[in-house]
Amino acid sequence: IGEVRRYLRDNNSMRVSRSLRDIAYKAITAKEALTKKFNKEPTIEAIAEEIEMKKEDVLFALDAIATPLSLYEPVYQ
């Protein structure tokens, strides 16, 4: 079963919190680019596709970087 585990995924000891910051940064950059390109706000799914991430991870990342204070601002400042 240890084999199964190794087979299924690379050993990844990076913290989720750190990876989420990277994803969020990419998502926001992609959002701005897509908005310019199509002249309307992209959906989360379109953003996820653009940066080749799952939409659930994009959602998660965006939430993780939104501090309570930025709640009433755009999610990213």
Partner: protein
């Protein structure tokens, strides 16, 4: 329809918010629509924790469902209740002016959702029903 039950601890506010955001993903929302719903959920749950239960601990229920593209979120506590709902919903009205409350919670819920309905009974609790059409546009 999904139903979530959690204790009135502030760390659970984030859990409720992410659950609502996750549920609405099936409508292919924009970031802005998602942020609107998260803000509304956040305000409603915070109210249950801060006002509904004050220093007590209690249960909070959240139901999320949809009819077509209309998202419906019900958030409910079984705490002190609101004696005068109409007054409570007025912009800037707060019973806790000292604790960095702005009195704008209900106003945000109204602004970011299409519809909000509040029912409450003193000593029994408070239920907030919110709806929003989510179109990804």
């Amino acid at each position: 329809m999904i139903h979530l039950e959690f204790n009135s601890e502030s760390e659970n506010e984030g859990i409720a918010r992410v659950l609502a955001a996750t549920y609405m993903m099936k409508f292919d929302p924009t970031m802005e629509e998602m942020a609107d719903v998260k803000t509304a959920v956040s305000e409603a749950v915070t109210n249950c924790i801060v006002h509904g239960y004050e220093d007590d601990q209690g249960k909070i229920f959240m139901d999320i469902s949809n009819e077509g593209s209309v998202l419906k979120i019900v958030i409910e506590d079984f705490g002190v209740g609101i004696p005068d709902v109409k007054q409570a919903m007025e912009p800037m009205y707060t019973t806790k002016p000292d604790e960095e409350r702005t009195g704008m919670g209900f106003s945000f819920m109204e602004a970011f959702m299409d519809k909000i309905e509040v029912s409450s009974e003193s000593g029994k609790g408070t239920r907030v029903i919110m709806e929003k059409k989510v179109t990804g546009k």
